[in-house]
C-alpha cells in the first residue's frame, strides 16, 4: 500500500481569521484582566493546539491506493476509486481526496485544468466521513471530463482539517496513471439507423458459406460427428450414401464509417498540419462524437463496424462485430489527433456506409457505384439523442438489438422507408 510522498500543514483563511480573533482576545484579556476573557483565550488556544495535534496524529497512518480504471466518457461522470487504509490508532474524520497535478511547467503530466480548452472544469474530489483505526474503506472521486483523449493522473492529495477546520494537513500520494476518455456518446436516432441499414446489402442475404443455421446452402458428404438432423435422407437414399445438408450463415449488416478530416490534414507527408482553433477543434470533436456514437449503436444492433479516418494517424479498420473490436474503434477515436497524417490521395478499401465530416460542406463521393450517407458533425443534435453512455457501452447486446438482428425485423425494416438519394461516394 503506497505511503504518502509529501506532507504539509497549512492554515487556511478560516485559520487566519481564528488567529486574529485569538490575538484580539489575548489583548482584551490583558487589558481587562477579566476571568471570562482568560477562559475564552484558553479555549481558543486549546482548540488550536488540539486541532494541530489531532490532524498530525490521525493523518500519519493513512495509506491510499488508486484502483485501476478502464475508461471514462466525455461529459459523463468519471468515478475513480481508491482504497484507503488507516494504520493509525486514532480514527480519522472528514478526509477529502483530490486528484492533483504538478504546477511546474516541466512536469511530465499537465494539469488538465490548465489545458486549452480545459479537459476538466474542477479537480476530481471525494469525501470520506470516517475511517476508523485499522479500517479500510473504498472511496471515490468524481469528475466530468470535457474532452476525449488520455487523462493523465499524477498525484492524489488527501487532506483533513478535522477538528474545527483551523489547521489542515495535506498528504500527497504519487499515483501516476491515465484514463482514456472516450468521445461523448449519444444514441443515434432511429431514422438515421434505418437509413444506414437500408444502404447496406448485408442483412438481407445469407452469407454464402456454410456453418450457419438458417437456410439451406448445399449438400455434402456425411462426416463423422454430423448430427442425424442434418442428414438429408431423401438424397442419401437416391445416391446410396449419407449426405448432409449445410445451412447458410446470416450476414449481419455492416457499417463502415468514413471520418473525413482531410481539411485539417497536411496535403503531403512531412508538412506541418494546419493549426486548429477552438472552433475547428470543436467541430472535429463533434464529428468524432458522432462516429463513436454510431459505432456503439451499431454494435448494440449487431452490426459489423469498420472505421476509416482520413487525415489522422488511424489505420483503417475492417468491419467486424466483437467487443474488443468496438473497444479498439473507440480507443482510436478517443486518441485521434486531426492532422497527424496526410490526407489520403486514393482510398481503395472497403466501401463506406457513412461519411462523416466535421463541417457542413457537402462531401464528395467516396466510391462510385455505392451510395453512402453523408452526415455532419454539426447536425449532432438532430441525428442523436442524449443517452446514458453506460447502456451504450454495455458489453452484452440489448434484447432490442438481438431482436433487430433477427431476419423478421430486418425484413420489416426494409419495408419501412425507401432509401434516400445519397450523394455519390467520393473518389479518393
Amino acid at each position: 500500500m503506497p505511503s504518502p510522498s509529501h506532507s504539509r500543514l497549512t492554515i487556511g483563511p478560516s485559520g487566519g481569521v481564528y488567529l486574529f480573533v485569538l490575538a484580539a482576545s489575548m489583548v482584551a484579556a490583558h487589558y481587562t484582566q477579566a476571568n471570562l476573557m482568560f477562559l475564552v483565550v484558553g479555549m481558543l488556544l486549546g482548540a488550536l493546539l488540539i486541532s494541530l495535534l489531532w490532524v498530525w496524529l490521525t493523518m500519519r497512518g493513512i495509506e491510499l491506493e488508486r484502483q485501476p480504471i478502464d475508461h471514462g466518457v466525455t461529459g459523463d461522470e468519471l468515478v475513480m476509486r481508491y482504497l484507503l487504509t488507516n494504520q493509525a490508532k486514532l480514527p480519522a474524520f472528514s478526509l477529502v481526496l483530490t486528484e492533483t497535478w504538478s504546477r511546474r511547467r516541466d512536469a511530465e503530466t499537465t494539469d488538465p485544468l490548465r489545458e486549452l480548452p480545459p479537459r476538466l472544469l474542477e479537480r476530481p474530489s471525494g469525501w470520506v466521513m470516517h475511517l476508523g483505526p485499522g479500517q479500510s474503506v473504498q472511496a471515490q472521486t468524481a469528475c466530468w471530463p470535457m474532452r476525449r483523449g488520455d487523462l493523465t493522473l499524477s498525484h492524489v492529495a488527501l487532506h483533513s482539517d478535522f477538528p474545527f477546520g483551523l489547521v489542515r494537513r495535506v498528504i500527497r500520494f504519487d499515483q501516476p496513471g491515465s484514463v482514456l476518455v472516450l468521445p461523448r456518446l449519444y444514441r443515434v436516432t432511429r431514422g438515421v439507423m434505418t437509413k444506414i441499414t437500408r444502404l447496406d446489402a448485408g442483412g438481407y442475404h445469407q452469407l454464402d458459406k456454410e456453418g450457419g443455421s438458417e437456410e439451406f446452402f448445399a449438400l455434402r458428404d456425411y462426416r463423422m460427428g454430423d448430427s442425424l438432423k442434418v442428414i438429408d435422407w431423401k438424397h442419401s437414399a437416391k445416391i446410396g450414401k449419407l449426405v448432409s445438408r449445410e445451412l447458410t450463415q446470416p450476414v449481419p449488416p455492416s457499417l463502415v464509417i468514413y471520418l473525413d478530416l482531410s481539411e485539417y490534414a497536411p496535403a503531403r507527408a512531412g508538412e506541418a498540419p494546419p493549426t486548429l482553433d477552438a472552433q475547428a477543434m470543436r467541430r472535429v470533436d463533434r464529428a468524432v462524437d458522432l462516429s463513436a456514437s454510431l459505432v456503439c449503436d451499431a454494435y448494440q444492433a449487431g452490426y459489423r463496424v469498420g472505421l476509416i479516418v482520413n487525415g489522422a494517424d488511424v489505420p483503417p479498420m475492417r468491419a467486424h462485430h466483437s467487443l474488443p473490436h468496438r473497444g479498439r474503434l473507440l480507443e482510436a477515436l478517443a486518441r485521434l489527433t486531426p492532422g497527424s497524417a496526410p490526407a489520403l490521395q486514393r482510398y481503395t478499401g472497403e466501401a463506406p456506409s457513412v461519411i462523416i465530416r466535421p463541417g457542413r460542406t457537402r462531401t464528395q463521393a467516396v466510391r462510385s457505384g455505392r451510395r453512402a450517407v453523408v452526415l455532419s458533425g454539426e447536425d449532432l443534435e438532430s441525428l442523436c439523442i442524449a443517452s446514458d453512455s453506460r447502456n451504450l457501452l454495455a458489453a452484452r447486446t440489448s434484447p432490442t438489438a438481438r431482436r433487430l438482428a433477427t431476419p423478421t425485423l430486418q425484413s420489416n425494416a426494409g419495408k419501412t422507408h425507401a432509401p434516400q438519394p445519397a450523394p455519390q461516394p467520393a473518389q479518393p
Binding site: 471570562l36 482548540a47 488540539i50 474542477e122 468524481a142 478535522f162
Partner: protein
C-alpha cells in the same frame, strides 16, 4: 450513525436551547425561561416533525423586524434596562424566529453564531457566579463542540458536492456524495469529540491558571466601571432606609456573599455566633420623607485611596488580628462590607483586594466604597479592631492629619475631591445627636427606662462605659418588650418611629434600629443607623457564613465618646431574627449547604481567580515539585489518613442522603426519557390515533421497524414522509437487491403486525432478529469496501 445532517440539527437545537436558558438563568427570570423553552420545543416539533414545516425567508425577515421592534419597545418602556440585557433579548428573539425557520446553511450559521454570543452576554450579565450556570456553561461548551464537529463534517460533504456541481459544468446534476464511513463510526465520533473537548478544557484550564495576570489597565477599568456602575444588581441591601407602610416580606434566598472569619489564622465562625456585616451608614433622619440617609457632606469628606498591591492600611501601624475574607457574589451599588461583632467596635483597619484600584473611605463613619466595578464578583479581605473601646480619632484622624499622606500611602494623588483632608471634618455639627420628632416625649420615655434600670438620664459628658451601659439597657428593653414582625407599621399621620415606640410596639429591624437611635439621641448619646446583613447561616461544609438577600438587616451604632468609639448595638430580638433567617435543616438543608459550598468553591477558585491566587497556586506547585516523589507519596498517605479520621458518621449520613437524592433524580430523568422515547416511537409509527392500549402494544412490538429505519438512516437511506413502508422497501430492493434484501421481509412483518393484527411471537421475533442482523452485516460490509 444517523445522517450527519440530522445529527447536526439535533445538536444545534440543544445548543441554542441551552444558550437561551443560560441567559434566562443569568437574568433570573424563570417565567421567561418557561416561555422560551416552550417556544423552542414547539419549534422543534414544527420544523422537524413529520411535515417538516418552517418559516420561509420572507416570514423570517418579518420575524427579524419584529425582534427589532420588540427590543425598541423594551428600550423605550424600560429606560433603566442594561444594554447587555437588551442585546440579549434581541438575540433571543432572533434565535426563536430562526428556530421556526426552514433551515438552510445560512440559517444554521446564523444560529451557530448567535448562540455563543447569547451565552457570552449571559456571562457578562453575571450568570457565571452561579454554579448551575457554570455547569450549564460546561455542558453548553461540550454540546457546542459536538455541534461544531458535526457541522464541519456536514460542511465537508457539502463542499465536495459543490465542487462536483462545478465540475459537472451545469450539464448534469451530480448526486450528493455518499456518506462513506467505516464501522463503529458513532462510537469513534463520540470518543473523539470527548477527547478533543477534554483536551481543549485541559489546555484552557492551564492557560487560565498560568497566563500572567497584571494590574488592570486604568482605561479598561474606567470603561468597565462605567458600564456596570449604571446597573446595580438587587442584593436586598439599601444604603437608604425609608420607613414605608406594608409588609417588607422575607426577601430572596439568593446568596449575596460568603464570609470566612479568622483570628490568628484560625476560623472563628460557628453556628452559634452571628455577626453584623456592615455596608452603609445613615445618620440623618428626615421626618417628612421618613427616610434615614447619609448627608451629602459625609460623602464629600471621603478619602479616595489608592489600593497598593500589599493591601491598604486604613489605620497605619495597626493591622488588627481578626480578619474577614469576603466573597461578594452580587455587587450591589458600590459598598464594600466590613464585619462587626454585635456590641463590638467599628474600626476597619486593613483592606486588601487585587480587584480594585481605588477605594473611598470615610474616617468619620468608616464607610468604604469603590467606583471600580470590574465584575459582579469581588473577593477582598478586611481586618478590624476588636478591643472593647477604640478611639477613632487615634485610629484614623490623628494619624492622618498633618502628615504627608501622599508619602504615607505611596502614590495617593487625589485627596477627597481634590482637597486636603481637614481637621474641621470632625468639628462639623453632628447630626447623630439630634432627634427631630417629638424629642421631649422620646426623651421622657428614655429617661423613664433608664431610671427603671437605675441609670442616670443624661449622657452628654458621660464616660464610654456609662454610655455603653445606657445603650445596652435601652436595646435590651426593646428586645424584651417589643415584638419582631416583617410587617411595616400602618401608614398614618403618626411618624413610624414614634408609632413603633409608643403604639404598635412591633416592627422589623429598621424600626428597632430607628427606635434605639431615637432613644439614645434623646438622652445625649450620638447614634446612627447602619445597614447590611446579619450573618448567622454557617455552612459547616466550608466553614464560612452564607449571607443571603433575605439576611438584610439594620442596626444602631452608638458613639461611646472619646476613647470609646462607635459600637454596634442590635435592638432586634435575636431569637426571632434568627428564626426568620433560619436555614433548612435535614436532608434538604444538607443538600443546600453542600450546593452552597460547591458554588462557593466555584466562585473562589474560578470566578474570583486573580493575580494573588495565581501566585499562590504557582508557588505551591513549585514547592510541590521541589518536594520530590517520595514526599508526594508521604503527603498523599498523610492526607488520606487525616481524611479517614475526620470523616464522621454524620458526614456519611449526609453523603448517603445526597446519593439517594441523586439516584432519585436519575430515576426521574430516566422515566421522563422513557416516556419521551415511547411517544416519539408512536409518532414515528403513526399510532397516535389508535386507542391507548393498542398503540402501546403496537409501539412495543414494532420497535424492530424503527430499528431498521435507524440502521438505514445511519447509512444515508431515509424514508421520505410521502413514502409508504412498502414503497420504501421496494425502492431499496430495486436499487441494491443484495444489500437491502432483508428490508422486504421486515416490511412484510411490519404490515402483518401493524395491519394484520398478528402478534410478534417467538418465531417472528427470531426471524426479525435474523433479518436485522443480516441487514446490518450487509450495510457494514458495503461501508467497509
Amino acid at each position: 450513525m444517523k445522517s450527519i445532517q440530522h445529527h447536526y440539527r439535533q445538536l444545534a437545537f440543544v445548543q441554542v436551547l441551552l444558550g437561551l436558558l443560560a441567559f434566562c438563568i443569568a437574568e433570573g427570570r424563570p417565567a421567561l425561561m418557561g416561555i422560551v423553552g416552550a417556544l423552542a420545543v414547539v419549534s422543534w416539533f414544527v420544523t422537524e416533525g413529520p411535515n417538516q414545516r418552517g418559516l420561509e425567508r420572507g416570514l423570517l425577515n418579518l420575524g427579524a423586524m419584529g425582534a427589532v421592534l420588540l427590543v425598541t419597545a423594551e428600550t423605550l418602556l424600560s429606560r433603566a434596562a442594561q444594554p447587555v440585557v437588551l442585546v440579549g433579548h434581541f438575540m433571543m428573539a432572533l434565535q426563536i424566529v430562526l428556530l421556526f425557520a426552514k433551515k438552510t446553511r445560512r440559517e444554521e450559521i446564523q444560529l451557530a453564531l448567535l448562540s455563543p454570543l447569547q451565552v457570552i452576554s449571559a456571562s457578562v450579565l453575571g450568570g457565571g457566579v452561579s454554579l448551575v450556570f457554570g455547569l450549564m456553561l460546561l455542558v453548553y461548551c461540550f454540546v457546542t463542540l459536538f455541534a461544531a464537529l458535526a457541522f464541519q463534517l456536514k460542511s465537508a460533504g457539502e463542499l465536495v458536492y459543490r465542487q462536483h456541481r462545478k465540475a459537472a459544468g451545469g450539464s448534469h446534476t451530480p448526486k450528493r456524495p455518499e456518506q462513506i464511513t467505516g464501522p463503529r463510526v458513532r462510537l469513534h465520533f463520540r470518543a473523539s469529540a470527548l477527547f478533543i473537548g477534554l483536551g481543549c478544557l485541559l489546555i484552557a484550564a492551564t492557560a487560565f491558571l498560568t497566563i500572567p495576570r497584571t494590574p488592570q489597565d486604568p482605561f479598561a477599568a474606567s470603561l468597565l466601571g462605567v458600564s456596570t456602575a449604571t446597573a446595580p444588581q438587587t442584593a436586598g441591601f439599601n444604603d437608604r432606609i425609608t420607613l414605608r407602610g406594608g409588609s417588607i416580606g422575607g426577601g430572596s434566598p439568593a446568596p449575596v456573599m460568603n464570609l470566612r472569619l479568622t483570628e490568628g489564622g484560625y476560623d472563628i465562625g460557628s453556628k452559634d455566633k452571628s455577626w453584623l456585616v456592615r455596608g452603609a451608614v445613615q445618620d440623618t433622619y428626615n421626618p417628612q420623607t421618613r427616610t434615614w440617609s447619609r448627608p451629602p457632606l459625609s460623602g464629600a469628606q471621603d478619602l479616595t485611596l489608592k489600593m497598593p498591591n500589599s493591601g491598604l492600611r486604613l489605620a497605619p501601624g495597626d493591622t488588627g488580628s481578626r480578619e474577614a475574607q469576603i466573597t461578594l457574589r452580587r455587587r450591589s451599588v458600590h459598598h464594600l462590607f466590613t464585619v462587626v461583632s454585635i456590641g463590638g467596635p467599628i474600626a476597619p483597619v486593613y483592606l486588601s483586594t487585587p480587584g480594585l484600584q481605588r477605594v473611598n473611605f470615610s474616617t468619620k463613619d468608616q464607610q468604604i466604597d469603590s467606583n471600580d466595578s470590574l465584575a459582579s464578583v469581588l473577593r477582598y479581605n478586611v481586618r478590624w479592631r476588636f478591643e472593647r473601646y477604640t478611639d477613632l480619632r487615634t485610629a484614623y484622624h490623628d494619624q492622618l492629619d498633618g502628615l504627608d499622606l501622599h508619602q504615607r500611602y505611596g502614590g495617593m494623588n487625589d485627596w477627597p475631591r481634590g482637597r486636603r483632608f481637614r481637621q474641621e471634618t470632625w468639628d462639623d455639627p453632628d447630626p447623630t445627636l439630634h432627634w427631630p420628632v417629638e424629642p421631649e416625649r422620646v426623651r421622657a420615655y428614655a429617661e423613664r427606662l433608664l431610671r427603671a434600670r437605675g441609670l442616670p438620664p443624661a449622657y452628654e459628658d458621660a464616660t464610654p462605659q456609662e454610655r455603653m451601659e445606657a445603650a445596652e439597657a435601652l436595646a435590651e428593653h426593646l428586645r424584651r418588650a417589643y415584638r419582631y414582625t416583617v410587617d411595616n407599621p400602618r401608614a398614618n399621620e403618626q411618624d413610624p418611629v414614634i408609632d413603633f415606640l409608643f403604639q404598635t410596639r412591633a416592627g422589623h429591624c429598621e424600626l428597632f434600629a430607628s427606635g434605639l437611635a431615637a432613644l439614645c439621641r434623646s438622652v445625649g448619646i450620638p447614634a446612627r443607623l447602619a445597614t447590611g446583613y446579619r450573618a448567622s447561616e454557617f455552612n459547616s461544609f466550608g466553614g464560612y457564613y452564607v449571607v443571603r438577600q433575605s439576611h438584610a438587616h439594620a442596626w444602631t451604632e452608638v458613639d461611646l465618646g472619646p476613647g470609646g468609639g462607635w459600637h454596634a448595638f442590635d435592638a432586634t430580638p435575636p431569637a426571632q431574627v434568627d428564626q426568620l433567617h433560619h436555614a433548612n435543616t435535614g436532608l434538604l438543608g444538607e443538600a443546600r449547604a453542600l450546593y452552597d459550598h460547591l458554588e462557593f468553591n466555584w466562585i473562589a477558585t474560578v470566578i474570583t481567580y486573580d493575580r494573588s491566587n495565581q501566585q499562590e497556586l504557582l508557588g505551591s506547585f513549585g514547592a510541590f515539585l521541589d518536594r520530590g516523589p517520595d514526599q508526594w507519596f508521604a503527603d498523599a498517605a498523610g492526607w488520606l489518613s487525616g481524611k479517614a479520621k475526620t470523616v464522621a458518621l454524620d458526614t456519611l449520613g449526609r453523603a448517603l442522603g445526597i446519593v439517594i437524592l441523586l439516584v432519585l433524580l436519575l430515576a426521574v430523568i430516566s422515566l421522563a426519557r422513557l416516556l419521551l422515547v415511547r411517544h416519539r416511537r408512536m409518532v414515528a409509527l403513526q399510532l397516535t390515533a389508535l386507542p391507548r392500549g393498542q398503540r402501546r402494544s403496537l409501539a412495543r412490538q414494532l420497535r424492530f421497524y424503527i430499528r431498521m429505519l435507524e440502521t438505514l438512516e445511519r447509512h444515508g437511506r431515509t424514508r421520505q414522509h410521502w413514502q409508504s413502508p412498502f414503497q420504501f422497501a421496494r425502492q431499496l430492493a430495486d436499487e441494491q437487491p443484495l444489500r437491502y434484501e432483508p428490508v422486504l421481509p421486515l416490511t412484510e412483518m411490519f404490515y402483518e403486525v401493524r395491519f394484520g393484527y398478528r402478534d410478534l411471537d417467538e418465531d417472528r421475533l427470531s426471524r426479525v432478529r435474523l433479518h436485522l442482523r443480516r441487514l446490518e452485516q450487509n450495510l457494514a460490509s458495503a461501508s467497509r469496501l
